[in-house]
Every structure is written in C-alpha cells, then in structure tokens.
Amino acid sequence: MAGSTLRFSLLLAAAFAGRATALWPWPQYIQTSELRYTIFPHSFQFQYHLSSAAQVGCSVLDEAFQRYRDLLFGSAAFRFPHPIVLTTGPLGKLLIVVLQRTCDSLKSEDTLTINDEQCLLLSETVWGALRGLETFSQLIWRSPEGTFYVNKTDIEDFPRFPHRGLLLDTSRHYLPLSSILDTLDVMAYNKFNVFHWHLVDDSSFPYESFTFPDLTKKGSYNPATHIYTAQDVKEVIEYARLRGIRVLAEFDTPGHTLSWGPGVPGLLTPCYSGSHPSGTFGPVNPALNNTYEFMSTFFLEISTVFPDFYLHLGGDEVDFTCWKSNPDIQAFMKKKGFGDDFKKLESFYIQTLLDIVSAYGKGYVVWQEVFDNKVKVRPDTIIQVWREEIPVKYVKEMALVTSAGFRALLSAPWYLNHITYGPDWKEIYLVEPLAFEGSPEQKALVIGGEACMWGEYVDSTNLVPRLWPRAGAVAERLWSNKMVSNLDFAFKRLAHFRCELLRRGVQAQPLSVGYCDMEFEQT
C-alpha cells in the first residue's frame, strides 16, 4: 500500500497553477508543466500498444475507451478539425499498455506519461488502466474557445488502501436500478472499487431469490416493481466489473431480518408476551435445524449469484428481548449450557452460518458486533467497524480488531446519511484511518474503508446530492497518500471536481457559494 519507494510531491502541486491541479483523488506522484498539447476530438483515439497483453477484445478496456471518449468530448461527432494555431504538436492518441490479462488482482498501479515522445498509460492490470483512464480524463481541459488541451504530465499512481467502498441500502428505500448504475459511474470517477450492497433488511426484501421466490413476493414493498430480478443483479455486477468495481453483497442476519419472515414461515423467532406468542417476531430463530437448512440453501444461491470472493454476513444490532421471551429458545439455551448469556446464542448462530458460507469457498465480512461479542471466527474474517462511540471509540476499536489479528474496514466516521448544515465534507476528509495506537503489522491489517449511505431518509429523490461530492472526501482519503490532507488544496480541487461531475450529468451538490459553468438542469 503506502509504499516505501513513495515519491511524493505535494509542494509541486502548489508550484503550478495549471488546470492539471484539478485531479480527484490526488495521485501518488505527479509532475506536470505549463507545456500543453492540443487534442482534436475527431481524430484522438485510445489505442492498445503493440506490447500490451490486453488488446482489442478486452471488454473492460474497449468499453472504457468508448465511455471516456463520450465523457471527454460528448457523444456528438466532431467532424471538422479545429483551425490549427499551435506552438506544440497535437496529441493524437493515448497508448495503453497492460502487462497482464489476469483480471482478479486487487492491485491497480499505473503510470501515465504525456510528453513529446509519447502519451502512454502503462499498467500492470486492466483495473489499473481503468484508474489511469479516469486520471487522464481529468487532465484534459478546454479553453474558452473550445479547444481541448492536456499538459505535459508524468503520473505514477496506486491506491493507499485496496478496499475503497460505498454502501447503498436498498431495503429502507428501494433504489431503482438506474440509481445504482449511475452511482457505479460516479464511484469510478472517484476511484472507489467496492460497491457494498446492503440488499435486504427489516423494511423490505427486494432481492428476488430463485430458490425462495416467496421472500420477495411477500417481503418486498411491491413484488412487481420494487424488486431486483436475477437479471438486474447480473446487470449491476457486470456494470460494476466494467468499471473495476467489486460487488460485495450483504445479507444481514440474525437481526435486521423482519422482511424475511413472511416468505419463510418459521424462520424468525416468535416473541412471547407472558406465556403466549405475542404475534410479533424477532431475529432469526437460532434454535431450529430448519433455520440452518434454509440458510444453507439460501447462501448456496447467493454464493453463486455474486462472484466476489467475499460476502457480507451482517451480524449487527441483534436485539435479545425476543429471544429472551421465547420458551423454546430458553430451553435450547439450557440444553446448550449457555446460561443467560445470549451473546453465546448469537455466537452459536453466527459460527454455524460462517461454517456454511466458508464451505462454499467464500470469505466473509461482518459488522463489528461479531468481534465485540467474541464470536469465534476464521482468522481471515474481515471486521467492519461502524460504531463511533460504543462500546469504545472507533479508533480504539480499530486497534482492538487489528491486535486480535483481524483485517479491519473503517466506516464509523463515514456515515454520509447523517447530515448537518455546512461544509461537513471537511470532517469526513480529515479522518485518518491509521490514527490508532498499534504496530506496523496492525496498521497493515487495515484494508480500507467504506462510505455508508443508509436509507432511512434516503431514496432516489435525494441520494445523489447527499452522496456527492461528500463521498469524494472518503475516496481521496482511501486512495491518496496520507500526507494529502490540506483542506484548502482539497477544497479547490473538490469544488472543481464537483463542477466536472455536473458536466458529466451527476447531480452533485455545492460545497459552498459559487457556480459552475454548466449548472445542473432539471429534465
């Protein structure tokens, strides 16, 4: 990650006033000059270098070339060359060299060189090439007369953390497929690489399972319109893949499962009032064999539908009240010798579930409660830290998780659904994920973080302006060097980047007073 051979030059950034400073997130190494090259949209092309391992037919890059062409020059064809008045020669093409064709590496390093001899993007993997293309697109600027330019530039770049995620919650409110796809686009502009899809929760079950179709039929807001079909899910995964984004699916249990109940009778624990069932239901019933049979079948489906190695199994905020009230659960506890410790019952459930999922050859991510409640988990489990204060401050929790040898993901300070008046992106930006007491080995266990947009108060009407450009602050924190933390420098670039987002059609809200050349226009 933050390599020792780092050549970093923040000072340089202040030294040049050119438009190339508008990069977001800021690259690891950049050198640029006032010398600029003209780009002619009608003749400019992205091209595979002869020595590249990836060639025409590599769908990820073929599609990306098309996308960035449109982003840069618009989809309108430029038929007529511009009048030529230049001091330097025009830039005809960007040559792409990808060293390996393997598509499963997490690494995405690239170098981007634009000078008189060459305009070259060199990358180990196609994923690095995608990040480089984004950087290249941000380097290009347009003069008031409409001519496209790019400055002579040398960039070497790689991410600080390999897991740079964004969580969307499609249960509290359903998000139309197009909202999700649009979000993936903007994630790519910000170099995010994990879409954490919190698909289901108490409120609704929009994921259409082919093994248990009743889950959506009875658990979605509307089984005709407010669902994700198998085709929708495939489309999200492929759309994400083409942008170098992994889809991390979350099926949160045993709590947060009310919507599962109607479709799977007997799955949830019946709560009791005195000696009678009250008619309400609690978490998944951990005392029944049927529960585990169901989970086994269900997660077999999930493991095949979602290609990512990791699944997110949730495990947060389990309320014990209902379990406590149920005599069958009490009997089960006694039988198992759990005493009154419901955390043991929770552990029992989670461990059984983890065994099921690992048998399918999957790794897993869980919320921090699983760790806090001392559930025995496999050593390669990833713990996601989300609680700001309880049981301990998140900084402390990061230390605890990593000192136990687990890999950690940070989300606690990045709950973007929470809003306050004013420029709250600054707080978000200034979070330092490794600012906890711990050994270098511990710090190396922090694989990244996620910006979370929970859905209680968010749907497609307000998602985009609430998310962008605020999530951009998280993106840079996770991609750029630790030393890139100057707020003024960030403000200038982020304000510029948000205007670029508007230009690309993203409804990103303003950071402060001011304007963009191209304002958002309602359709």
Binding site: H173, Y174, Y221, H418, N462, V513, E519
Partner: protein
C-alpha cells in the same frame, strides 16, 4: 378564516359559500371516510361519505357552470384544467368510453362557478380571496369560489381527493369541503445569488408551491455573491456582477417566472437587499459602495452601500423605478439586514457626514437615514415595503403599513409581540430556515410552530399576515434544492393554511407521506420522511 391585518372584509363571498353549505345540512360529518384520503394542507371543513364515485379519464371534464362569471376565455382556469387533468389521470392516452361505469356512480364533470369578478387577468395580491367550496357528488361536482384564486386552491384539493383503487380505477368519496387560508401570506424564499437557480428550477418550485397552497415566491434575487438580475436601466450590474453571462435572469426570464406564478395564484415578491449584502452591486455600478479605509488610506475593499452620496439615491431611485414596473406585486422587499458598520466607521467622509447630520457615532442612525430614504422612494412609487426585522429594531421611522419580516430565532415570539404592539404587520420566518438541515424528521419541529403563540391582543395577532419558509443558497443549488425543500416546506404550508387546531403529528405524518408520494408522482423530487416507499418512485 378571518381576514388579517390589511383591512377589507370578504363578507359577500362568505355569504355565497354559506348558501352552498346549507344544501349539505343533511350530510353526516366524517373526518375521513377513506384511508386513501390524504389532503394537504388540511381544509377547514371536510365532510365525506363512504359513497364512492368513479371517474373515467375518457369521460371526465372540467368546465364552467352557466352561472359562473368565468368562461373559456379565462386563461388561468383553462390552463389549470389542463394541468389538473394530467395530475389526476397521468399523461397516458386514455380510450374514451373504455371503462363503463354505472351512471349513478360516475363523476363526469367538475363544474366551476366564480361568483364575483373573477380577476382572470389580474395578478394575485395580499388581499386575494382564496376561499372555495367543493361539492363532490355524481354526476357533476361543483367548485364554487369568489375569485379564480379560490378555484385554483379548490382544484388542487379536488385532485387530492381522487385516488386509484387497487384495480386502478380513479375513485373519489362523495364529499363536501369548505376551505379558506388561515394566513394570507404563505411564502417560500429562494436565494438566487449565493447560487444561481436555472429558470426551470424556479418554475418547478412554483409547481410544488401550488401543490402545497403557497402563494408567495419571495425572490431574494441578488446579494453579495452575484447579481443575476438583468436590469434594463443598469445592464452593467449583471454584466459585471453576475457569476457569468449565462448566470443571468433576463427580463424575459423574469416575466416568465411572474406569469407562471400568476397562473398558479402565486405572487412574486422581489427582494433587493440593501444597504448590506450588496458586494456584487459594486462591480457594475461605480461609487455605489462605501470604500473602506485602513488607517488613512482606502484599503481597496468595499462595504455597504454608500449612504452619504446623492448619486447613491438617484441610482437607487432609477433602479427601484424599474423594479416597481417589472414586478407587478404591491410589495417590494428592501432587505436591510445584517449591516456591518466597520467599513462606514473607517471612512472619513462617512464620519464627517454623520457629524454634520448630528448622528454622533451612532451608525444605526445612519442606517435608519438610508432606509428612510429608500422607504420614501418606494412609497412615492405607490408600492409598499417589506423589511427584515433589523430595520424595525434599529428604530427607523417606518411608514404605517410597512411589513416587518422576523428572521432571528432568538426570542422571536417577543419580537412578534413588540412589532405588532407597535402596529406593524409581520411575517414570520425565524423558525423556518429550511437550509439548516438536521438528520431525521425535522419537519415535525417546523410543523409544531404556532405563529400566534405570543402574548398580545387579538388586534396584534391580526397583524401576523403569515410566514415564509426560507431556503438560503449558501449550500443549495439546483442539484439539491428540491429534495431539501420538499416535503419539509409542506409542514410550513399546512401551518399557514390550515386551522390552528390542526396539530396532530401522527395524522400529519400519515397524510404527509402520501402527499410526498403524490408530489413525486407529479415530478417533484420530494425526499422521503422515513423508511417506506411510493408506488411511483422518483427518478431524476
């Protein structure tokens, strides 16, 4: 129901409505016959029966009653008929006579009857009569009002009565509604200086305002950051003072907004805030701002408008002359808030002027002097002024009838008491700064404000002419205006329209979630109140 503050009673209209009411004496009152009923804001009286009426898109019309003072030449109503037909039935192509409904259950027509001079070609004003009576029965429903403004409000209510049952049939309960606003001034403030709002966004906002029975667009059009208003008299103001030449409201844009608003019964109240909040004016108008001094030298920065020069007042007189003709409303908002005295204090010429005038070093007196000049100018143009509370607080002499807008949260009820005790009409904004956002359901706090909850005589309370929800623009532009404004402003809308007793938060919640989905269906990206869903999800 009573007319507030501004004289002129509306008795003849009330009598007409009472006559219509008498016909309904036999109806049994029910608060809500249908769980689908979700009127917002809640009318004064709603009576519904369980009897259902069905509407067929191919066989339903809006029309004028033969006794109405209006006819097809009343453009305000013709346009409204078309709009509300689309809101009710959507824009699908419906086949005439496709659904056969038994005639005794069919609602075929809404007949509009305007009793008095309809004011079809007028602009709405503070005294416009917005009361109406809506009688929904088969086969012909009637909507009676004194003026077109009441018809517009009644059409909105009528459209809210109609819902699609689970088979998709357009349905309404037989009902009778008598309605009129509690306050005559129900406004939304938009700020087009901190961020430019494209005209389309303003028009969208006017649509949403009409859905919530708001009737004033307070257009805070210029401020320190930019001057987007294109003046005919002083074109340099926007040429130099706007963010860019495409961030400008041309005279045609302004006309478009005013006319679009008129068609929805909404007044456009322009605000040209001075003497503070004017940094952008200085770019296009030489010498209008006070040069600040550092020690004995001009520092190169500028402060509020320079109140000591004759040229200032001749400029303002020409500018406001233009504004008074461009904007048809009786009122102009003159601002007067947050004047920073540091720059005036630094300027030797200003100090000299103060000495000559005998102001000592009391800069409030200088501010009052300035405001008085502007207020006199406006009244000479036969217009009335609205000012922010500081102008009153600083004891400027105010012409009777000048309206004071209260915006400071601290002790705002005391402020209301003081201003009304002094006999001035007042507009409340303090508790309704919607640009200030919070996580969760903050609409509840806006909803729970009672504007008349201050110590004062009935005469004083009469002077509260209404309120405004303000969405200042520091952090708001076209990208986030709509979800930030709606449905949070709807809470203010009901508070200003409905009866004082309508305060049940749970009933409000139940109606507002439906109203929000209705706005979403009509193309307004109103954000959710909480977890849940709409049948038609919004898609930007």
């Amino acid at each position: 129901m009573e007319q507030r503050g501004l004289g002129r009673l509306r008795l003849p209209g009330l009598l007409a409505l009472l006559a219509a009411l008498a016909a309904l004496a036999a109806w049994s009152p029910r608060v809500s016959a249908s769980r689908n009923l979700s009127l917002w804001p809640l009318p004064v009286t709603v009576r519904t029966t369980p009897r259902l009426l069905y509407l067929s898109p191919g066989n339903f019309f809006f029309g004028h009653s033969p006794t109405s003072k209006t006819g097809p030449s009343c453009a305000v109503l013709q346009e409204a008929f078309r709009r509300y037909y689309a809101y009710i039935f959507g824009t699908y192509k419906w086949h005439r006579g496709y659904n056969k409904i038994p005639s005794e259950m069919e609602l075929q027509k809404l007949e509009v009857s305007v009793i008095m001079d309809p004011e079809c070609d007028s602009f709405p004003s503070i005294t416009s009569d917005e009361s109406y009576n809506l009688l929904v029965q088969g086969p012909v429903a009637t909507l009676t009002a004194n003026r077109v403004w009441g018809v517009l409000r009644g059409l909105e209510t009528f459209s809210q009565l109609i819902y699609q049952d689970s088979y998709g049939a357009f349905t309404a309960n037989e009902s009778n509604i008598v309605d009129s606003p509690r306050f005559p001034h129900r406004g939304i403030l938009i700020d087009t200086s901190r961020h430019f709002l494209p005209v389309k966004t303003i028009l969208k906002t006017l649509d949403a305002m009409a859905f919530n029975k708001f009737n004033v667009l307070h257009w805070h059009i210029v401020d320190d950051q930019s001057f987007p208003y294109q003046s005919i008299t002083f074109p340099e103001l926007s040429n130099k003072g706007s963010y860019s030449l495409s961030h400008v409201y041309t005279p045609n844009d302004v006309r478009t907004v005013i006319e679009y608003a008129r068609f929805r019964g909404i007044r456009v109240l322009p605000e040209f805030d001075s003497p503070g909040h004017t940094a952008s004016w200085g770019k296009g108008q030489k010498d209008i701002l006070t040069p600040c001094y550092h020690a004995s030298e001009p520092s190169g920065t500028f402060g509020p408008i320079n109140p000591i020069l004759n040229s200032t007042y001749s400029f303002l007189s020409k500018l406001f002359k233009e504004i008074s003709t461009v904007f048809p409303d009786e009122f102009i908002h003159l601002g007067g808030d947050e004047v920073d005295f540091n720059c005036w204090e630094s300027n030797p010429a200003v100090l000299n002027f103060m000495m000559n005038k005998g102001f000592d070093r009391n800069f409030k007196k200088l501010q009052s002097f300035y405001m008085q000049m502007v207020l006199d100018m406006i009244s000479a143009m036969k217009k009335r002024s609205i000012i922010w509370q500081e102008v009153y607080d600083d004891e400027g002499k105010l012409i009777p009838g000048t309206v004071v807008q209260v915006w400071k949260m601290d002790n705002f009820y005391n402020e209301l008491g003081n201003i009304t005790a002094a006999g001035f009409p007042v507009i409340i904004s303090a508790p309704w700064y919607l640009d200030t956002i919070h996580y969760g359901q903050d609409w509840r706090q806006y909803y729970s404000v009672e504007p008349l909850n201050f110590a004062g005589t009935p005469e004083q309370k009469q002077l509260v002419i209404g309120g405004e929800a303000c969405i200042w623009g520091e952090y708001v532009d076209a990208t986030n205006l709509t979800p930030r404004l709606w449905p949070r402003a709807s809470a203010v809308g009901e508070r200003l329209w409905s009866h004082q007793d309508v305060t049940d938060l749970e009933d409000a919640y139940r109606r507002l979630i439906r109203h929000r989905c209705r706005m979403v269906r009509r193309g307004i990206a109103a954000q959710p109140l909480f977890t849940g869903y709409c049948e038609h999800e919004g898609r930007m």
